[in-house]
Symmetry: C2
Subunit: 558 residues, 2 copies
Amino acid sequence: MSKNRLIYLPLGGAGEIGMNCYVYGYGPVDKERLIVVDLGVTFPDMDTTPGVDLILPDISWLEARKDRIEAIFITHAHEDHIGALGHLWPKLKSKIYARRFTATIGRLKFDEFGHPADAITVVAPRPETVEAGPFKVQFIPVAHSVPESSGLVIDTPAGRIVHSGDFKLDRSPVVGEPWNDEMFRDIAAERPVKALMCDSTNVFSTHQGRSEATLGEPLRDLIMRSRGMVVATTFASNVARLKTLAEAARAAERSVCLLGRAMRRMVAAAQESGVLKDFPPIVSPEQALEVPRGNLMLIVTGSQGERRAASAQLARGKYLGLEMKEGDLFLFSSKTIPGNERGVIKIMNAFSEMGVDVQDDAGGLYHVSGHANRPDLEAVHTLLKPSFLIPMHGEHRHLREHARIGLSKGIGAEVVTNGMMIDLSGNSIDVCEYIETGRTYLDGSVLIGAMDGVVRDRIRMGLNGHALATLILDESDDVMGDAWVELMGLPERGKTGAVLAETLEAELGDYLGRAGTKVLADDDKLEEAIRRIVRQVAMEEIGKKPEVTVVVSRLQEG
Amino acid sequence: MSKNRLIYLPLGGAGEIGMNCYVYGYGPVDKERLIVVDLGVTFPDMDTTPGVDLILPDISWLEARKDRIEAIFITHAHEDHIGALGHLWPKLKSKIYARRFTATIGRLKFDEFGHPADAITVVAPRPETVEAGPFKVQFIPVAHSVPESSGLVIDTPAGRIVHSGDFKLDRSPVVGEPWNDEMFRDIAAERPVKALMCDSTNVFSTHQGRSEATLGEPLRDLIMRSRGMVVATTFASNVARLKTLAEAARAAERSVCLLGRAMRRMVAAAQESGVLKDFPPIVSPEQALEVPRGNLMLIVTGSQGERRAASAQLARGKYLGLEMKEGDLFLFSSKTIPGNERGVIKIMNAFSEMGVDVQDDAGGLYHVSGHANRPDLEAVHTLLKPSFLIPMHGEHRHLREHARIGLSKGIGAEVVTNGMMIDLSGNSIDVCEYIETGRTYLDGSVLIGAMDGVVRDRIRMGLNGHALATLILDESDDVMGDAWVELMGLPERGKTGAVLAETLEAELGDYLGRAGTKVLADDDKLEEAIRRIVRQVAMEEIGKKPEVTVVVSRLQEG
């Protein structure tokens, strides 16, 4: 047995849907040469990450080994795969490979950060091969919900790996290459597949996936039937959908206007990189104002209810002069991602109040998923016949279900979650190490660790309010004046009707009057006592223990 | 035309699902005698109401007219209909009417508050009639997902009103009276129905609703097939479901154990009030520990992922000594209410990590809704033939859709939302007034207004962090020592790597060194300047403007 080993280490995306980042390594133990697949983000929420702007994988493990990184490969241009590239690349400075459209999006990001565009190299699909140390990597075109999505064939001295990327079995994807059984069969015939790392998003969907092309007719019918303005939202990166929507608009003799920065940017990038041809002509928002409502269709950002996107702006009133009115139609050509329901429902109700008809995806009539369903996943297992199946791109329950399917068909399968490093060199999947990893938050303009306590404190203040007690002591540790209490996020009055801040000040005054010099001379003891009193009195008065900050100032001899 | 009028005013539940509170009045303008139907709550969330314990209707309008209130009627024992009764009754002190099971739950609540149990009067269903000033009110049994759910027939001199309550057309509801077309036909035959106030929750569900009884067989099959321990969760108040689950357990030769306070309380109340008979014997958690896993079934609280409920506790580890293990089954005999997805998914994944099989409702196989679907609503319109249809118990989009159905069938229908007072005396639905109303928060032990700014400040601190700057000035307005900055919920260091608090203190020091006596002598100006500097410097350093509290202390001549 060689002393070299083949390792796999997910740093994000395995145990969650989002923030994809996978590492492969080959070489002697702790000297493996590494490649990184994807550097994505996930999105914050008020429950767990209030005030955070973006959530990135914690790549400290990679950073400490950056001299061993041969390359970064980006499978496609979704934010959960490419979103962290601009933020984290300066820590790795490695060469990046992607297909043309993905590279175009990546370079737009690099441009914003002032990173060099030539760090990203455009690669054509298989048979073109990137040599990266001991790895030989090919991009394999797959259908998904963004142009030029790719899986990867990763050849190593220890065997061939197929990293599926995000994919669906779409034989008529409207934009891009149709799914091709033959290519997958060839990949397995050429060299046996040792391991398949496979998308697990839709493992619980038991019916066969449907093609993007099935949406054309229903969308055309819906738009033809409408009398007022039609506004449709979908993910900006779903260029095939934008095309289908725009063509349906054209069939209904409507001018198309794109609203939202991401929407215009994606269409421009898709046209520039050659993946989007024959897109119907677009009118500007200013021109749209001149078009009769019955002849206008807007395609807008904000399918997930994002507060700043075009759909939310239209739900609040005018946006670039355009406004929804009674008799208009608003279409969600999209599905709500779990967790985003409140935002989406809020928009639906705001439109309802305006008299606008809101149409959801009607159980799939106006939207199809970009991920392979269970029967489709099984078809891929059959085509590739891998020795091992390592489910990825899923929460724990998805990975477990997907592994179970593999095992039931005699494929060696294992649930491998973020931070688990496995050794694939032998005839079994062996866990070799648990890496301490987690998440990094982009907070305003700085990166902070998820465990730094910053967000924990915000959550506590958000839940419990914040009480500040200040106190001045003179040179002989005597209290000067009174303790002063300021409250934020707390009821003004307690249940007795008394003003809470005054009750707290009175109680602190009592305490300080009888406190011994030993306490008064000791900042820590004094602060602890004040904190305890504030929390206890607040509990009695308002049934809540606030966060407390104590500032003790001591005057010094001039 | 009489000078008396018949009014309807929803104070909650019309434009939302939750917090139901409806007012009817009859009499001369501004002297109408009033009845209140339901006093429910809705639940807070981190996005909009962090730290809040419960959300109650704002009843200030009612409180100001409490001498005109004849009675409060509670249609059923769900929290969104009865949950505010204990909290708000002291403000109204009116007589309360409910059916036996609802009264039992209400009295349990009253007991906790120390309110008199005899404020709640038990009423038998129609033909028993409560006379409340100009109103004659009958309880009409309907099927729902809690025992003895009722609609109301409200007779007034200006006509008959049917207030549907929450209902479904269930002809085999397992517990309680089956749906009875005849009774509804009689109600309309006896006296024409002027207005139907109607549940709108499921107006977008286009298939006919299914009976609770359809669940028995699938649940029995599922539980019979399981080898390990089976744990099922559903709403504690769904006593019929508890019975179906317990009977399925018995068929599978499993002992049943109820976990969660609400679960045990509901079953006890249902047995005590006579609505639940033949419930299989229950073992205590201590006894359950002695039962082999394959012969045990737990029925637990927490179907919505509530952090403190039994299901979440089991997902975190042991609960009362009981623990989930590999090969066990966890069943959600429930649907996730929009907005609760994150909590539910978190539990699913925690169980997945333990090797527990998680089963959701399987698209309705293991759960049916308690509300009437669209075809069922239409059947009720047809049975009652009301002159007016006023949709209630729905978000705006539900109310609008429901009104549209009524209009399409020639029924006068109007979307009436919280705070809209309508006059039903004539031949049309006339809006007579918009009442300023909103929400009241139970926060710890005190009630605060939604607009008091308390929760707004919490949200801001949660998003932006909180910076405190303190400063001491002597008798001649000279700065003593340095300004002191404390930060909470903010990154320790800015993007330059410098400690943020120190940077802020230095900048404040610079400013104070050059500030004129005019500013230093003026608390407001000084605070404003300090706040501005803190926000501006923080923006530069960390890309974020924190909330700022400034405490200026002035030493006074001894």
